[in-house]
């Protein structure tokens, strides 16, 4: 028998996303750019005098970071074929709660603590942005401007990563473009411009109860720290903003959720969602899928909602009764509690700081009152559902694993039942990672949303009981 030795070319780079393996030489070069920019920024934070507010400094360091990151991601995903490539995620220290994840978690958490409680300590950072802030907002940069800038930068860079990672998936491409647009345009640039024109910023994409001051009695809304500057309160612009916030909070939320589910907001518009869907994507698999977590979630998120609703009502009553109930400034108590525990501790420190430990949607899942309201509408008055495709489920668990909201999608899919859950933000990743084409996000008819093998009534009872049946 003649034998021939057949040689196959040397080992090719593993088809693994760049975050989950040793970088190649080109990737290292790009990472070096990110490193250089980061070192400059760190230096600026700790030694404010080095760069001062030199006009070249910020463009240089953030340019290095942006170009390096995008280059790194581009070269990293460049040699993968388009498709789901979650290879090596659970072998990665950063993505699977290893030492790197703890370091990252501590770093981001520390940043939030400093930002909220010692904002002035970031002066070296925000003074870099002074020239830019002056141009955009007409006022000097402060720590909030720095925060908004970094936040937007992360959404854009990691949005670029989403474009590369999900380049085969149009739903993800369009949705990512949407969150990038709303963050950059309506949550960063437009408020900045408004501040310059009206001396007051305004966020068109936030409503009560996520921004509770947008639906408080007028006395709290107008003036310093309120939604509308005093001089605009009687003006058409001021009236428009008041009407806009009320219409969005009370009208658009139920109507749009009826047609599209809560995703129209949570994974297409919202800034918290925007960060979670971009910067948070590498950590989405860390959400807790246990039944215990689901039980906790339902108490905590609705607890926050009840708190805000009660307080809003109380302030209106106080206002209507000539402020006899809570005294002249009843809102003070509210802001102290809400601001400290909910906004700072919950949505910031835990919500983003714990991305590498608890996944990207901690705030959205356990705390956001806007998500709670949208969820109630989605659960009971919406045409949105995730349809399960008959009997094709193989119970592999990719859907549940990559659900950032910790929904055990598989428990429905393997019974052939559609998924109608309050918490689903409609990111569409379960459908993307499913290897058997079992899941589809869609807005169908309201009556048919539970269609599947399961009976609607028993599915509903299960949902209330909070556990899968045998």
């Amino acid at each position: 028998m003649s034998t021939t030795l057949v040689q196959i070319g040397g080992a090719r780079p593993a088809r693994v996303g760049p975050e989950a393996r040793t970088p190649t030489a080109l990737e290292k070069a790009f990472l070096a750019l990110v490193g250089a920019g980061s070192v400059m920024f760190t230096l600026a934070l700790f030694a404010p005098k080095v760069f001062g507010s030199a006009s070249w400094a910020a463009p240089t360091m953030f340019g290095l970071i942006a170009v390096g990151s995008i280059g790194y991601l581009w070269s990293g995903y460049g040699h993968t074929t388009p498709g789901i490539k979650n290879h090596g995620i659970f072998h990665s220290s950063l993505a699977n709660r290893g030492a790197l994840a703890w370091l990252a978690g501590i770093a981001v958490t520390t940043f939030y603590v400093v930002l909220y409680w010692h904002g002035e300590a970031l002066e070296g950072g925000y003074q870099l942005l002074d020239p830019f802030a002056q141009k955009l907002t007409g006022s000097p940069a402060d720590h909030w401007f720095l925060y908004g800038f970094l936040y937007t930068l992360l959404v854009l860079i990691f949005g670029g990563r989403m474009f590369l990672k999900y380049r085969h998936n149009r739903y993800q491409l369009i949705r990512t473009a949407s969150v990038m647009f709303f963050q950059l345009g309506l949550a960063f640039l437009l408020p900045g411009v408004l501040k310059k024109i009206w001396a007051q910023d305004f966020y068109f994409t936030y409503f009560w109860p996520l921004k509770p001051d947008y639906l408080l009695p007028f006395d709290y809304v107008i003036g310093e720290g309120g939604m509308i500057a005093k001089e605009w309160s009687g003006h058409a612009v001021g009236r428009f903003m008041v009407i806009w916030s009320a219409v969005m909070a009370l009208g658009a939320v139920p109507v749009l959720t009826w047609f599209f589910g809560k995703r129209w907001y949570c994974s297409w518009v919202c800034g918290c969602g925007g960060l979670a869907e971009t910067f948070g994507d590498p950590f989405r698999q860390l959400s807790d899928k246990s039944e215990k977590a689901w039980k906790f979630e339902r108490w905590s998120i609705h607890g926050v909602l009840v708190f805000i609703v009660l307080f809003t009502v109380l302030l209106w009553v106080n206002d209507a009764t000539g402020r006899k109930l809570l005294g002249s400034d009843g809102s003070e108590l509210f802001w102290k509690t809400y601001g400290l525990f909910i906004v700072m501790a919950f949505s910031g420190v835990v919500g983003v700081g714990f991305y590498p430990l608890m996944g990207s949607r901690v705030w959205c899942r356990y705390g956001c009152p806007q998500a709670a309201i949208l969820g109630i509408f989605q659960r009971f008055f919406s045409r949105f559902r995730i349809t399960t495709n008959g009997g094709q489920c193989i119970s592999c668990g990719n859907c549940s694993t990559y659900c950032e909201m910790g929904i055990d999608v598989r428990s429905y899919a393997q019974r052939g039942e559609n998924i109608v859950r309050a918490s689903c933000v409609g990111c569409g990743v379960c459908a993307a990672v499913c290897p058997r084409g079992v899941l589809k996000l869609e807005n169908g008819t309201f009556g048919g949303r539970y269609d599947g093998d399961g009976k609607p009534w028993s599915a509903f009872k299960d949902a209330l009981r909070g556990r899968p049946k045998a």
Binding site: F90, R170, E291, S395, R410, L441
Partner: protein, 427 residues
């Protein structure tokens, strides 16, 4: 009553769940030597590739079992005492039963190849196989895979994600062509090759060569080619696992013989899933279905019959799905393979980039026999309904949009399919 179930795969677990659903008092013992808890066998590859952790491929949380009073026993069954109605387990333990369900799955085929029991040779079916593959991957440069089925392409993808070169031997002249039509088999072959896999068609393994230490060193194929490899994956199909029946009066052939109610020749003893060979009327081939979905369906029927019903197993309108690297595949109804003796008329559409395809197969009397798609998702319930209602292809094309299941904003492939095929169908 005490029902013992051997095997915690999809058939055994579905039976256990349905037993509990139907009867709150029946005592259920679920025995497995492989793992403590049920897990999704098709998800094995994702654990290796790092998409999921072991705990993620378990479809039920661990508290599910005590809550539903399903007793779990982690032992291998060594023999069945049919007369004494008890199971002998390793560690000299016995478990008495009133009724028994055998859901012991299948084993990788081995065809007596020289060297098939060397270190570094493994199938990919069990958790133990996964552990062996994981251990063999350390420092591995090149692996061979033998047999062109679904597990073979999964194993190829697994090694590929770790930068390990793969030589893939397939006996047929196209990949999986005892299931896929010829053109689809070609497309899948192209996908495999585009990933850089060394796919070799129309060749068979003749020998696995010892490197001198009892470890795999190379393979030789029927064309005489030799490839130096450190691992050989045997994925030339599976056969029913009959080990547990040895020495018992339970009748076996290729599988454990059962009638359509899934009962064996011994009253009160049933078999379901991959291990069962379902007897069919004279003139038809017995059914051995080693597919996730049929295991689940058989488990459901077995549960009802264990409780006294005599329902017949019927897999209904056939369906299946798979994924070859990034290419998804679905089939509904009967689509003859390239190797089928009896071909049926069909209309096929393939996209210009050859990553999307749709085939509509017609029965002899002009009804829809089956639909298969590559790179497109279709609705199970709609396709099934069309087949069961006996729709013709003209109707199917006119309503194709209803069957589309691709994510929102995806290109509407149904338009391309209808445009290409509607001219070929008699109105």
């Amino acid at each position: 009553m005490h029902v013992a179930i051997v095997g915690n795969g999809i058939a055994g677990v579905t039976a256990a769940r349905h037993l509990r659903k139907l009867d709150s008092s029946v005592r259920i013992t679920l025995i497995s030597g492989e793992t403590d808890h049920h897990w999704s066998r098709p998800a094995l590859m994702y654990v290796y590739m790092g998409h999921m952790r072991w705990e993620d491929v378990k479809p039920y949380e661990d508290h599910f079992w005590p809550r539903n009073r399903i007793d779990l026993v982690r032992r291998w069954v060594t023999s069945i005492d049919v007369e004494g109605r008890q199971l002998h387990l390793d560690g000299a333990r016995t478990i008495p039963f009133d009724k028994l369900l055998l859901a012991v799955g299948s084993k990788p085929n081995k065809f007596g190849w020289p060297g098939q029991d060397l270190r570094g040779v493994s199938g990919m079916v069990s958790l133990q196989d996964l552990q062996a593959i994981e251990a063999a991957s350390v420092g591995l440069k090149h692996a061979a895979i033998v047999g062109g089925g679904l597990i073979g392409v999964e194993l190829a993808e697994m090694f590929h994600t770790r930068g390990i070169d793969v030589t893939f031997l397939v006996r047929e002249h196209a990949y999986w062509n005892h299931v896929l039509p010829a053109e689809e088999g070609d497309i899948v072959g192209e996908v495999i090759r585009a990933e850089g896999i060394d796919l070799r068609l129309e060749t068979e393994l003749t020998e696995i060569v010892d490197d001198g230490t009892g470890q795999v060193g190379a393979i030789v194929d029927s064309k005489g080619d030799r490839v130096e490899v450190g691992f050989v994956g045997l994925t030339a199909g599976v056969r029913p696992n009959l080990t547990v029946c040895a020495g018992s009066p339970i009748a076996t052939d290729r599988g454990i013989l059962v009638d359509r109610t899934l009962v064996t020749n011994v009253e009160g003893i049933y078999a379901a899933g991959d291990c069962a060979q379902v007897k069919t009327p004279e003139g038809h081939r017995d059914l051995i279905q080693a597919v996730w979905y049929t295991g689940r369906m058989m488990g459901e029927v077995a549960a009802r019959n264990l409780l006294g019903a005599s329902d017949e197993y019927d897999s209904g309108t056939w369906f299946n799905s798979a994924k070859f690297f990034d290419l998804e595949y679905q089939v509904y109804g009967y689509v003859p393979s390239a190797m089928a003796h009896h071909q049926l008329p069909s209309l096929a559409w393939i996209s210009p980039d050859r990553r999307h395809a749709c085939r509509l197969v017609e029965t002899e009397d002009g009804k829809l026999s089956g639909i298969s798609v590559l790179g497109i998702r279709m609705r199970h319930r709609v396709c099934e309904r069309w087949i069961e209602e006996g729709r013709d292809l003209a109707y199917v094309l006119a309503h194709l949009r209803e069957a589309m299941f691709d994510p929102e904003f995806y290109r509407r492939w149904d338009r391309d399919i209808v445009a290409a095929l509607s001219g070929k169908v008699a109105a």
